[in-house]
């Protein structure tokens, strides 16, 4: 067999999925440009917080720390981002406040799980509970924002039918999240920082014996990850919704962890998985919108799960997490 045929054969599931999704999308969009664009744009919108959350989790786990506090980091950042933006009437300050909050929470997770060597799952749960409690307690109605983050059309690119409208006519955090995919990939696989991160997550004592500080790497990764989760929070309150609501993350932090796993701890994979999750949600909304299968709403509700299961079973296969995740590291 030639190499092209072999590659095609090895990728048959991926190709099949892509073709099926394109066909399905066109069908759902009734083969009209506006509708199809709407479905895809909604897909991207739904996927953004999941992607950012997954990147946050990935940085942590690649260095050996499970972060199940992403939900809390996102919620808290959404809250502080919103409050700061509302107080100062400056969205940029709001976004920065969200990022800073995420970093602070990342640092607390590191404090609990790296310095104090606590259980990582419990440390993450603490963040989630704290975030839910604090934001519910301090949130008051009546604050308003000067608007949402602005829409930016990228020159002529945004005039390209369908895909141009989807990818090049967005708001700043969405662009940033798209940029983060290749950036994090490059950082993980092409820089000394990435190599050391992976070493620390796989075999901390080996890293230590070549002079790498395991604790320092884990702090750094959790704080950087926190910044990304903070961005996800700011996205929710300042870019997607334009206000804060109680528990507005609504489990996205946990779905993000699933996205990270389905993406095999790889930024590109996570982006694919996030898009898939986003897509199933978008499709579901379209179905309801159009009133299809209204007499069988349970089937429509099943779509995201069925699609996810089929695609994951076929495309993803077996993934191996970083070997050292979940274990506190000490030398003696």
């Amino acid at each position: 067999m030639s190499t092209i045929t072999t590659t095609l054969y090895q990728r048959r599931w991926l190709i099949f999925t892509v073709v099926a999704i394109i066909g399905f999308t066109l069908f759902t969009g009734e083969f009209k440009e506006a509708q199809t664009t709407a479905i895809l744009a909604s897909t991207l919108r739904q996927s953004t917080p999941l992607l950012l959350g997954a990147l946050c989790g990935m940085l942590g786990e690649r260095s050996g720390v499970i972060n199940i506090g992403i939900e809390g980091q996102m919620l808290m950042s959404a809250f502080t981002g919103f409050m700061v933006a509302a107080e100062t009437q400056n969205l940029l300050l709001g976004v920065l406040a969200g990022i800073a909050t995420g970093m602070l929470m990342g640092a607390s997770l590191a404090g609990l799980s790296v310095s104090l060597q606590g259980d990582q799952i419990i440390a993450g749960t603490v963040l989630n509970i704290a975030a839910l409690g604090v934001t519910s307690f301090f949130f008051q109605q009546g604050y308003t924002l000067p608007g949402k983050t602005p829409m930016i059309d990228l020159w002529f690119l945004s005039d390209i039918p369908v895909l141009g409208r989807v990818f090049f006519s967005n708001r700043p955090i969405t662009y940033l999240s798209l940029l983060l995919v290749p950036t994090v990939w490059y950082a993980l696989f092409r820089t000394t920082w990435g190599l050391r991160t992976r070493a620390v997550g796989e075999h901390p004592s080996a890293a230590e014996t070549v002079g790498i500080s395991v604790a320092k790497m884990r702090y750094l990764n959790l704080i950087l990850g926190g910044a990304i989760a903070g961005l996800a929070g700011a996205y929710l309150s300042l870019e997607a919704v334009g206000s804060f609501e109680r528990n507005m993350t609504n489990g996205k932090g946990f779905v993000a962890l699933a996205v990270m796993i389905f993406g095999r701890w790889n930024p590109v994979g996570a982006w694919g998985a996030a898009l898939l999750f986003g897509y199933t949600n978008a499709i579901q909304t379209q179905f309801q919108f159009r009133g299809w299968f209204t007499d069988h709403p349970q089937f429509v509700g099943m779509i995201p799960f069925v699609v996810t299961i089929i695609v994951l079973a076929g495309v993803v296969g077996r993934a191996r997490p970083p070997a050292a995740i979940g274990q506190p590291y000490s030398r003696e």
Binding site: R190, T191, T192, W193, G194, L195, R196, R198, A199, E202, H203, S205, A206, A207, E208, T209, V210, G211, I212, S213, R320, A323, R331, E332
Partner: protein
């Protein structure tokens, strides 16, 4: 010691280190001169690794001082040691399994293009050149976990050579090397010493000490018990200093009374981890009451053969009969139940459950059976009694039978496995490198056990990279070469040279 002597490259003064109730190092003083190869000898658990780990900053001494090139230093992490040009080859591999050879070697000291951007191409070239220079060639792009254990050892050594060290610590670097590789490494060490590198060399193989060391320090139970120049003694003398009694380096055994065939392997083939044929139509028979030794350079299918017999690896064709039962296709537990005991080559991976207690590890192959479990409930009393008995019998040095097995010294871990596997009433014992990393006193003991097992009518399949071990224990020898036995015969029909040639080239006509 007088003033005009040069300052030692590294010196420890009155170092003490405790792990809970265990005093691993007690008032240890130790110095190594520039350009000296200093061998550190001692029984398993004597405290050798502890001492060098302190010198490398991995452990922090409770008391005592460390001087490097005459300067008192406080070492808090390996980072500090590396800054002071100390390199170390660790007894337990410190390699990241999923990374490539090159990534492992350059880790922590990576060549970069711009700030922080890895220059992998340069790294590959450097690693390749390094391997060539020292004659320790490895594929720079191979993933470490795919490599045989001897090659992984080479990667460890290369890693310590990659950053030029003034003090080089090697903790049992030869335990998994073939004799040829070992000789080669000793050559490299001599070269480094000639360049002025101070070398601390830990080994259990007295031949290597005699061959390469300028000076020897002997430790026993955490203390330094003596120091000597190898020229003033011989192997037996060193062994006696280590163990505190005279040791039989080559045990006496009577004629084998071979009985019926126990293990019959016919045209067996199996693949290695990279899906290449590793065992290639191999045939062999082991009878009750004999020790069948397999000699061979590592990587000729020994590992895959052992894994196939014990059910850890799928076979692609051929049969493995234990008396009248086919083993191929059965699970490791089923095979073990059939009466096959196994001392695995990679004790960390296949032999022990690190965080579990010594006691649990000693009954790992039968914890689910009476008297250790009744109706699914573990019987702690019975387990502990058996564990205590084995610990005493095999002289396993541990704080208690409840300590995690992970905290034992390398050789004591090996003893735990040997105790477990040799104490069950098996029909067939498959022993892969059973004395790797254990001290001469314990080797004597394990060898005696193997011979006793044989005399009890058990069939023993011994796989070892130690030609001496194969030659002194086996009743029959098979030489494995590229997945086949190229010669089978009685032990006395081979000379050492013939086996060496068969191992290297698959035939005796050169």
């Amino acid at each position: 010691m007088n003033e005009n002597q040069t300052t030692p490259a590294i010196e420890a003064i009155s170092v003490t280190k405790r792990f809970g109730p265990i005093v691993a190092n007690e008032n240890v003083s130790f110095r190594v001169e520039k350009g000296q190869i200093h061998a550190l000898l001692g029984e398993n658990g004597a405290g050798k690794s502890t001492l060098v780990n302190i010198l490398f900053g991995l452990y922090h001494a409770d008391q005592g001082e460390i001087y490097i090139a005459g300067e008192k230093v406080e070492m808090n992490s390996p980072h500090d040691a590396i800054d002071r040009h100390i390199g170390m080859v660790h007894q337990h591999f410190q390699l990241v399994p999923v990374l490539s050879v090159t990534e492992n070697i350059v880790l922590g000291h990576e060549p970069t293009k711009k700030r922080g951007i890895l220059d992998l191409e340069k790294a590959y070239a450097e690693v390749e050149a390094l391997g060539k220079r020292y004659g320790l060639e490895v594929d720079p792009r191979a993933i470490v976990e795919d490599l045989p254990i001897g090659t992984q050892q080479r990667v460890e050594i290369l890693r310590s050579l990659y950053r030029k060290a003034d003090v080089l610590i090697l903790d049992e670097p030869t335990a998994v090397l073939t004799p040829q590789e070992t000789d080669h490494l000793l050559e490299v060490l001599r070269g480094l010493a000639a360049e002025g590198v101070a070398i601390i060399f830990i080994t259990h193989k007295l031949r290597e000490v005699m061959a390469v060391a300028d000076h020897v320090t002997v430790m026993r139970r955490g203390k330094v018990v003596g120091a000597i120049d190898p020229s003033e003694t011989d192997q037996a003398g060193l062994a006696e200093m280590m163990v505190g009694r005279s040791v039989v380096l080559r045990i006496a055994k009577g004629e084998a009374k071979a009985g019926a065939p126990v293990l019959t392997i016919d045209s067996l083939s199996a693949l290695d981890d990279r899906a290449q044929t590793a065992v290639d139509g191999l045939c062999l028979t082991v009878h009750a009451g004999e020790i069948f030794g397999i000699a061979g350079v590592e990587g000729n299918g020994q590992r895959e053969l052992v894994e196939a017999i014990t059910g850890l690896r799928k076979t692609i064709s051929g049969s493995i009969m234990l008396e009248d039962t086919e083993l191929a296709g059965s699970s490791p537990r089923e095979i073990s139940e059939q009466g096959v005991a196994h001392v695995p080559e990679d004790r960390e991976k296949h032999g022990l459950v690190g965080p579990h207690s010594v006691a649990d590890n000693l009954v790992l192959n039968r914890y689910f059976k009476a008297p250790f479990a009744r109706r699914g409930i573990r019987q702690t009393g019975a387990i502990n009694a058996e564990a205590q008995k084995l610990v005493d019998q095999y002289d396993v040095r541990t704080a208690s039978i409840n300590s995690p097995v992970r905290t034992l010294s390398g050789g004591n871990k090996q003893k735990v496995i040997a105790a477990r596997e040799l104490s069950q009433n098996a029909k067939l014992l498959v022993a892969a490198q059973p004395t790797r990393g254990i001290d001469v006193g314990s080797i004597e003991f394990v060898h005696q056990q193997l011979v006793d097992q044989r005399d009890d009518g058990i069939a023993v399949l011994l796989v070892s990279a130690e030609l001496d071990e194969i030659m002194s224990l086996s009743d029959r020898i098979g030489v494995i070469y590229q997945g086949r036995l190229v010669a089978i015969g009685k032990a006395e029909d081979f000379t050492r040279n013939q086996i060496g040639q068969l191992m290297a080239s698959g035939s005796t006509d050169a």
